[in-house]
Symmetry: none
Subunit: 220 residues, 4 copies
DNA sequence: AATGAATGAGAGTTCATTCAT
DNA sequence: AATGAATGAACTCTCATTCAT
């Protein structure tokens, strides 16, 4: 409601552990009840602090919500940078990114719920500093894909933006369904097939492609 | 024993045109403000009826929200069935489905917002009869894909569920971004490339899959 | 809310049977739910008419409530006059009145509920023409008691008003308890003991009222 | 695990003086307007607190209503126990009880209105803990009367339940009339006559009764 | 005479947020 | 740094009542 982005008015050091406890409680409560259905009182109870204390650390309920991804995405981003160092080839890097992206959600169910069911539909979140972090992490996919085009691994006439949409869209779709319906029990098991499909397509190659070219050179 | 026998309380048809006007107004208001931020009073004003009248037609604000997709999805589903009759080949049918699915959102911006930003994250919606309709329309993709497997157009070792996830996920991702950021100005322009990618994959064929290439050199 | 006592604006003949049906339905519904908890719609449903029709016969929900006793009290009053003709002695008449009063409630449970739980606490009812009828029927007790004083059956130094309070109060107390708790299963069984107590008191006569002591001294 | 453990929601004592102020205001407003006609806003205004504050102390308007008698009845009950210690004889005790009961209402007009016009007709009140207190205080009458039977002061063949009905019924009748019509200006003035009547009955003793005492004194 | 449909007018209740301590 | 207590501000929903047909 106010433009108070980036921490509560008097963001003295306070107690970082308590701040984290509040964030984790908020994540849990929001995850279960949704944003409007969750009350600040619920969160305060879960964090074993008073409601007023929450306002010491966060300027509003919404800011509290928006603060949830920051930490986790930052860690995730660092992890990616670290790991990508050791992976060679754009295709392999892309595969790695997809695995990591999935694991981010698979290992943090409450976080997945908050992102998929609440934040994804929230217009205000887009104006947030926090969103930039999330957004930034999306650049990985695009960069890696571009790298793949440059070195000839990927088809050169593709828009990286679309490829990212396909990858993220598919993952988000699956994660959302898991959040809502519990359906794909194991997100990872879908990863490989998804990657294969993305790499190879779904069409059967019927010799129109080079594959079937039978080259017979007969002497004389 | 004569008058008020049978029938669900009061939700008779009443004036269907007015009902539709309320639904359309709700769609517009929800689309712009979100569910909790929109008030019944807003909707009433937009529909030129009193708040009480809204409750004559819908038993609660949430029921009003949930009633939005029914009509539109029903029409859409009929259209699909009709059109699919004239399309031959699973690949073509799939392409058609994707176009139609995109056009559903592209032509109904408010509806797209309501679905992508509000309904998709709403757990209660899943328990709804209305949801079943939406769900049902998702079966098309799976059926058509299965058909393609059966007749040899598509790779036989794929899970239709995953393919649907990729198609819908991508579309939803793009539509959501358009809802939030206005970004892909033209959703259709992405359709073809998306379909190509889905069909062919993103990898350059370097003859490594040339497995299939049979090169026979016979010496003299 | 308005001073619209005594029938709806256009009290054309309408259909007296329908009027009665509405009244009886109102009695039943009010009895079960209480005044504010009962809705005009409830009553309309029970009477198999539309809500609007109720307003043809009664100008408001409250007027409908207030119209309930009139009929029944009128009949009751006539019955009393008729029966009292054949009863001799004030004590017997009083006994008769008490029986009749109890039977009025015992035989009309819904009516009893409406009177005891709703009307008795309603200040507006006092301003009503209908109330006068009820009030009038209360005069019986006072008259009969006065008659008993005049002819020496009852103690001459009593205020009839108080006696009526005792009789009516006791009956109302018992009827109310039956309405709320179902407790005195059979109201009639209490009648006789109540009357005896009223007539004779609860004290054991220890000869301190020695008036009655006949002292016979026989010589030798 | 430290702060908000245990305890019923939020209904801690808070500020007991404020709680009492709200209760007294509620008593006054309910007394004048009745339950449904009184608004929480009315009460808040009268108590100089916000409406929300009322809900800090009481969970609903109805709970507020039901909380009114508790305090006053508790005090009253203690008073009775205290005073009864010094009164000898069941008849005197009964007389004392009646006086006290009347004085409870006579000295608390608003309270009398609330009890007689609102609570007495409220079915939900019966399910209340508060009702038990009221109910408990009713036991006094029955106990004292039984005591009187045991020690020969009262007729042994009477049902205490009925006697209580007569006493309470009469008092309630008178108090209710005073609430509604202001009629018996002075409730106390009726007390004595009522007690006399209860004790001695209304019939003129024509010597037919103790009559039976035959005292024969023979000379020598 | 009867009613389907519409609504004005509120009322109770909830909660995020504040502030004195 | 922490919070108990207080409240302003809304919002959903209900219902008695009306009126054109």
């Amino acid at each position: 409601m106010s433009a108070n982005t980036g921490g509560s008015k008097r963001s003295r050091k306070l107690n970082p552990a308590k701040r984290l406890a509040i964030l984790k409680s908020a994540e849990k409560i929001f995850s279960r009840k949704g944003f409007h259905e969750a009350t600040v009182s619920d969160i305060a109870k879960a964090a074993n602090v008073s409601e007023a204390t929450i306002y010491e650390y966060f300027s509003s309920k919404e800011e509290l919500l928006f603060s949830i991804p920051a930490e986790i995405v930052r860690e995730y981003q660092e992890k990616i940078v670290e790991i990508l160092k050791y992976v060679k080839g754009a295709a392999n890097k892309l595969r790695t990114l997809i695995y990591l992206h999935i694991s981010l959600y698979a290992n943090n169910e409450d976080y997945a719920n908050v992102v998929m069911l609440i934040l994804k539909g929230n217009r205000n979140f887009l104006k947030t500093e926090e969103y930039k972090v999330v957004q930034g992490s999306a650049q990985n996919t695009i960069q890696v894909f571009q790298e793949g085009i440059d070195n000839g691994e990927f088809k050169p006439d593709m828009q990286p933006y679309l490829v990212r949409a396909m990858i993220w869209g598919t993952i988000e779709h699956l994660v959302t369904r898991k959040s809502l319906l519990g359906k794909p029990e194991d997100l990872f098991s879908m990863a490989d097939e998804m990657i294969d499909t993305l790499f190879q397509g779904i069409l059967v190659n019927r010799g129109e492609t080079p594959v079937n070219v039978k080259l017979t050179v007969e002497n004389r």
